[in-house]
Symmetry: C2
Subunit: 339 residues, 2 copies
DNA sequence: CGCCAAGAATACAACGTTGTACCAAGCCCT
DNA sequence: AGGGCTTGGTACAACGTTGTATTCTTGGCG
């Protein structure tokens, strides 16, 4: 077994509590004993038992991050940012995948035994519906990512999806394009990024006095690359001409790009293209992909800040939930270059 | 506070240990009391305190996964597989990033307090050198991914990098190409995938009676997409003709592809291209990317199996370390299509 | 009818840590 | 010189769980 406070205490000839105080920098300890204890700690290679510490303190130093899928670049990069941000605050991150965001998976995960292991959870919901908000009461701090479940009174980090969607669309319109298609819509949904980004799209069209054409709107359930390709084939099959495309995320955009090129359609000359998320891949596609940068580091930072406020605050319940918004910016690359 | 065994015991009118037995399915409990206890458990929504359980049992149910960077698609997908595999065995995964695999970061991570929190560690080393092997003695089970630190007597999961490198190269040669470039080499290193894959490259050339030309070998430190682009510019600048390219991973390949296309060089007509890792992105690039599939799910499964054997085994020390090899296969896509 | 074994449940300690309460000096002040 | 105060340290309990040893039933059997 590894060394404990007892071992160190015996070795240094002090009480176990004094060692504890030295290790945690608490209480008053004379310089002499402190040094003696530290020497013993070093010599015996003492490392505190985190389970015991957690049992006493009620804190584990672990936070959970629940996302749909790590193999989607957006979430991988988000996880990266969260881990980085957590590390700076002395926390470690337990990642859980909801796998396509199936509702049941999400509910299970909210009630799973892992919750006992984490001081709080950062959760990017996808499949849950409004009736499920009661399940969000998990007994430990929770921060939602995104605009789903708007009814729930929980801390959350969102972005200006409507404005961002409008800005993306506008960046296409300002090139003089007038037939702007969009893929990734969830027309019969009432919630989620898809709804908001679509709203931005519609809004931008209106502001520029351009008619909204349903034939240029393609719905896509999961925003995977393969579905982007499928959506583009569908759009092409419709035979409706278009000269610009707003893809609701970069995966869709890159999937669509591939199909456009297969058909000999040049981007950006024939079709200007913009995605969403600023995933690394877009920088090296050909043409490189214009996109909306959602401010991932900020999202991570804000989420952890909200979480830590709850974790730290003794009386967590009576504080009203907060919503923080991350800044976004349009990144113009080759896929919308003047041409 | 949440409900404890005490609460349930009082509620069901039994002893605390009986509740514990019921919850864990241990000991002999009559059907009647079992039912009564389970009813109380459900009613009070009892969930065991994992810290306390860990303190008693010495197990946390958490395993660590230390990788260079989650934003590299290969590692994101690997992490995905590990989490999935762990979940099936009732474990959760703590992901730690070594950020480009700096040696110090790796050593810190091996000694960090997190080790007290995990039952074992799956570690993909990058910057550590052979002199550091002593640091691998972390007091809990450890499985290495890859061939680094060959001197260390630790469990590990590897792949037939030499054979795979040779197979990739051969798949280019069999197209009739004779000037096969390679990017990603670490010529003055003695260890690592780069060395082995390069060895396979050399070997395949020799077997096909093709001369090895140093001018067609480009070194790349970190196998990022941007470095792939840089390497390709360097290769083009050399002015040495080549008609095929083996990129040591898909990121390099996609970065290189982009630069080739900028220069109007057609893939696969002018240059046939194969990568390594079978990252999702390669399926939707244009042309789609031929690659080597390293068997990620198998790697994840093997790593966890090795880890669990150590964790389970009472006398862990006297069992000789094992090495498992994952199967690989060549995936031919457009970037090496006959043409 | 009395004894024993097996079945069912309990009491208690321990895992390693930290918070609370307490104690022993030494010092200053009146 | 004795009361209060600061400084440095200790003893003990508690966090919630589980392993070990123990007790209490009960029914079967000689």
């Amino acid at each position: 077994m590894s060394t404990t406070l007892h071992d160190v205490a015996r070795h240094a000839g002090v009480s176990i509590k004094t060692v504890s105080n030295v290790v945690n920098g608490l209480g008053r300890v004379s310089a002499a004993t402190r040094e003696r204890v530290l020497a013993s700690v070093a010599q015996l290679d003492y490392r505190p038992n985190l389970s015991a510490r957690s049992l006493r303190s009620g804190r584990t130093g672990v936070i959970g991050l629940a996302i749909p899928e790590l193999s989607l670049a957006y979430f991988a990069q988000l996880a990266d940012a969260v881990i980085e941000e957590a590390e700076q605050r002395g926390l470690v991150v337990l990642i859980e995948q909801t796998r396509g965001g199936a509702r049941n998976r999400e509910l299970e995960l909210l009630r799973g035994p892992q919750r006992q292991l984490t001081d709080g959870l950062i959760f990017s919901p996808f499949g849950m519906i409004e009736e499920d908000t009661e399940f969000l009461d998990i007994g430990s701090p929770l921060v939602l990512l995104g605009e789903r479940l708007p009814g729930a009174s929980v801390d959350r980090v969102t972005m200006r999806n409507v404005e961002a969607g409008a800005a993306a669309t506008a960046s296409l319109l300002k090139l003089g394009r007038e037939r702007v298609a969009v893929i990734g819509a969830h027309l019969d949904a009432r919630l989620g990024s898809a709804v908001l980004r679509y709203e931005g799209y519609v809004q931008a069209l209106r502001e520029h006095g351009i008619e909204l054409r349903d034939e240029l709107v393609v719905e896509v359930d999961l925003w995977h690359r393969s579905n982007g390709a499928k959506a583009m084939r569908e759009l092409l099959a419709r035979g409706e001409p278009f000269d610009a495309l707003f893809a609701m995320n970069d995966e869709l955009a890159l999937g669509a790009l591939r199909v456009l090129q297969e058909d000999g359609i040049d981007v950006p000359t024939d079709v200007a293209l913009i995605g969403f998320d600023n995933v690394d891949d877009g920088r090296f596609s050909r043409p490189s992909l214009s996109t909306v940068d959602p401010g991932r580091p900020e999202i991570a930072r804000m989420a952890i800040e909200l979480l830590l406020e709850r974790i730290g605050g003794a009386t967590t319940d009576d504080v009203a939930p907060r919503e923080l918004q991350s800044p976004f910016r349009i990144i113009e690359r080759e896929s919308t270059s003047g041409a």
